[in-house]
């Protein structure tokens, strides 16, 4: 089990470690800077941090023996003269890395490979540990990409990247808003998949179109890879055929709206969510921060509250801010209002590490 957490916040990357059975903040990197995401690459031991300097744009840093160093930035290609690239609402899409929204290590057989998803929808691949990046051009040039639209952000973005543990050339991505896509040749070609999801924010003729789907988070069970879970803008969906088709999970109790989902690495029926009041308010129901857990593939859900604030809690847990360790025992969760909690018993109980952090964007076990 991992004894280290990387917590990406609006004001730095917090390293949280477990010593003598207790978790505490060890140190902070990039203090004062906006760290939107971090990746701990288990293949190399390297850490990666995505920074957004506002005035000065987004950057990627990599940890090495000598500390952090800035590496290559995913850079959009030169936009062809006269190309009117507009989103479905008629707004000009700027070919510029607006935000780094996902970082994922490649397969065990491709040690230098990283994937990076961005707003406004570019996917990038690095073959050299982030030193340089190349856009997955066939995906960007797919005419259907121009049907992607912004969800919570102004521009569409790729927030979930899953590399098939059996075959590194197979990669799934999920887009808000633009559905689920799959490559089976390492990114050379892509196709949209994901029938069965529901988009109530579009007119009836588009409600079930795979391109309309505002997937908030897509995850895969590592040792039962056919099973995937989606936390969607309109609810929770489950797939038993590698995201080709989904069915909706209803009767979850408090809410099916949320951003985050994690699935147990060995038990595909066990998954965790953080429900919020949908979607106009986006606050916990009745001021109670709750994690829901299913152990039976979504037939029933437990509400896990022990150690979590149950009065006047307005914590939102973003899609990358709920984490499960590689053994599926420890969970960690950070919130928009600076709360950070850890569970060592699969969510049965939680310990608060801090409630005064900057807004938390992402949490991952190191």
């Amino acid at each position: 089990m991992s004894d280290r957490l990387l917590v990406s916040t609006r004001k730095g990357l917090f390293h949280v470690v477990r010593r003598s059975g207790a978790w505490s903040i060890d140190h902070v990197d990039f203090l004062g800077d906006n760290v939107t995401l971090a990746l701990s690459d288990h293949r190399s031991g390297k850490l990666y941090a995505a920074l957004d300097h506002g005035h000065f744009g987004v950057k990627v840093h990599r940890s090495g023996d000598g500390g952090w160093e800035e590496v290559g930035k995913p850079t959009y290609p030169q936009k062809p003269e006269g190309d009117e690239d507009k989103d479905p609402w008629g707004r000009e899409v700027k070919w510029d890395a607006h935000r780094i929204w996902s970082l994922q290590a490649g397969g065990a057989d491709e040690p230098g490979v990283l994937w990076c998803g961005t707003l406004p929808g570019g996917l990038f691949r690095s073959n050299d540990h982030g030193a340089t990046w190349e856009m997955a051009r066939s995906l960007w040039d797919d005419p259907l990409r121009r049907k992607w639209s912004g969800g919570g952000a102004d521009w569409p973005g790729i927030h979930s990247i899953i590399v098939d543990p059996r075959n590194s050339k197979r990669v799934w991505i999920a887009v808000s808003t633009g559905g689920v896509w799959l490559t089976e040749d390492g990114g050379a070609t892509w196709k949209i998949i994901g029938q069965g999801m529901r988009a109530d924010y579009f007119p009836p003729e588009l409600t079930h179109d795979p391109i309309s789907q505002d997937v908030h988070c897509l995850v895969q069970c590592r040792n039962a890879p056919s099973r995937m879970w989606v936390q969607h803008h309109n609810g929770i969906f489950i797939s038993d055929d590698e995201a080709q088709t989904f069915r909706e999970i209803r009767d979850v109790g408090v809410s099916t709206f949320g951003f985050a989902v994690v699935v147990h690495p060995d038990d595909p029926d066990t998954a965790w969510f953080v429900p919020e009041i949908k979607d106009e308010k986006r606050i916990p129901n009745a001021g109670r921060l709750i994690v829901t857990r299913t152990r039976d593939g979504g037939k029933t859900f437990e509400e896990l509250t022990k150690g979590l604030p149950q009065q006047h809690a307005y914590d939102i847990v973003y899609r990358h801010a709920l984490a499960l360790d590689r053994k599926g025992e420890r969970l960690a969760m950070g919130s928009t209002t600076g709360g950070l909690w850890v569970s060592e018993d699969q969510g049965d109980s939680w310990s608060m590490i801090s409630h005064t952090l900057p807004p938390v964007y992402a949490v991952t076990f190191g």
Partner: protein, 89 residues
């Protein structure tokens, strides 16, 4: 050669010392500067090589007008400042 200065705020991210740089327009001056400081490019320019939204550039006390192509003229006696804009908060 034109004198080129950068906001102090950029220095903690990437070292951008003041420099005497040749070039007939802002694009040429910056490109010459980036030759010796390639890391600075993405801090000043976006992916389309235009001035970042929240960066401003002054030439002899005037904010440049062509933020897209950076064609504002520069002379050998010009002084250029690269600032972060207040618009970025």
């Amino acid at each position: 050669m034109a004198k080129l200065h950068f906001t102090a705020n950029i220095q903690r991210h990437v070292e951008c010392p003041s420099a005497d740089v040749r070039g007939d327009d802002v694009r040429a001056v910056l490109e010459h500067f980036f030759e010796n400081n390639p890391l600075a490019r993405s801090y000043i320019l976006d992916d389309q090589a235009s001035v970042r939204k929240h960066i401003t550039i002054f030439v002899d006390g005037q904010a440049i007008r062509d933020r897209l192509r950076l064609s504002d003229r520069v002379t050998s006696t010009s002084t250029i400042y690269v600032f972060q804009a207040l618009s970025g908060g």
